[in-house]
Symmetry: C2
Subunit: 259 residues, 2 copies
């Protein structure tokens, strides 16, 4: 449905959608925004931006630095995450098992769910050496560039898999981030055979990632458990020996039933 169609749709409240656009204007590069920057980023005119920003401020979604007049996301953003995490049966099931895995391995454990062409981290148990961005829930990363995403992809039917690999966006995080779709196809193929996916230097240099898919009750992959270790201390062989068995075990034990 295009924007024009929505204009006609009497069940679509444009004012709400526009207001939500303001919330989405805040990201890594835009931690705080002034009114005119907000207008630019949302494509709304000055007056509309003013009204929506004010509304979000009054309702507590945005904070306002009275000195600079700039807006920033508020706690409410974090509270919303709670509502989501609490409601997600996979998270409920997984959490204790992820903690256990983290205790056993002593390394960073993540869980991510597929959201469109990205994965979204929904659980993170950091350890020393974990980079800041990798400690925060809700981060979105293109699925094709992560072991987690590729582990999930590997469990999809052949045709679907292929289409995703062709069309989904790629990003570049390090000089080594895989940009070649044929190479990604290979990696996914490999993951389909092994039952887990391996990555190196994709998001951060000298980082090794292993991920195993979590399969839903309908047989489709819903998420991935992911372990991230330093290439200074680990080799692929050592990971396969000391991490993969536990990782697979954990992932397999998290199989959500139909409600």
């Amino acid at each position: 449905m295009t924007m024009a169609d929505r204009k006609q749709d009497t069940l679509f409240v444009n004012s709400l959608a526009k207001g939500l656009r303001l919330l989405e204007a805040f990201d890594e590069e835009h931690q705080s925004l002034g009114l005119s920057e907000l207008a630019k980023r949302t494509g709304l005119d000055k007056s509309a931006t003013q009204r929506f920003a004010n509304t979000l401020y009054q309702t507590g979604y945005l904070m306002k630095d009275e000195a600079t007049r700039r807006f920033r996301p508020s706690h409410k953003f974090a509270e919303m995450a709670y509502a989501y995490l609490w409601s997600d049966p996979v998270v409920q099931l997984a959490m204790p098992k992820l903690i256990e895995l983290s205790g056993r391995l002593g390394e960073t454990i993540n869980m991510a769910e597929l959201s469109g062409s990205d994965i979204v981290y929904v659980a993170r148990i950091p350890c020393q050496r974990t980079t800041f961005a990798a400690t925060l829930v809700g981060r979105r990363v293109p699925a094709l560039n992560t072991s987690g995403g590729r582990a999930i992809l590997a469990m999809l039917p052949e045709a679907e898999r292929r289409a995703c690999i062709e069309n989904w966006p790629l990003a570049r995080f390090t000089p080594e981030t895989t940009q070649d779709r044929d190479k990604i196809a290979e990696l996914v193929e490999e993951a389909a055979h092994l039952g887990y996916s391996f990555s190196r230097n994709e998001l951060i240099l000298k980082e090794i990632g292993v991920a195993a898919p979590i399969i839903g009750a309908d047989g489709r992959p819903v998420a991935a458990v992911h372990c991230s270790v330093s290439a200074y201390h680990w080799t692929r062989e050592k990971v396969e020996k000391d991490i993969v068995p536990f990782l697979l075990d954990t992932a397999n034990s998290i199989t959500p039933s139909l409600r």
Copy 2:
């Protein structure tokens, strides 16, 4: 500003505010909601609820189970948390230090910020034995019922402190949750002297909590670092000896500068 005043305010977009009410309708007791339940909880009529829910669905904020027609929060909720956490200078500063502390103590570490009369957990590093709700970012708990909240309160000026203790809401999580405001005043007083706050059985039975405040550049408390341990393995004395020094050290090292 009351609802009636807002009606007059041309800078307040009611449609946006109403839409946001739907998002807030989801909490611990309401993981998924049907249209009429949503209407009941938000106080909107059937048609309005229909339009707003549909809009939130179209924009990806709510998921819809096509079988049951019930709505649920989506990943977007978690992504918003990322925007917030990323933008918060205290979180940025604190995260690595919290991880270090967790590594050193081997116990659950949290950080919470004051939000009105509640504290909101913005960072959580769980360990074995951590209960599910205590692993999720964004949880809101009445400040008076937590060591974290009381540690923050203790750093406020006398008069302000007193007013909060008189007026802020209390909840009951266990039979032992402190309900007596005089007792709470005592505990806050103690925290003001010691520089940290101690709790027992407040949120969960057999849980001991210690919390130390983080002071902002303006001298006012902005957050608290919190450590939670089992009363089966720990006593107050042992906590004071083996945990408090490190906790205070960590909290003190997180002092955000003015931008």
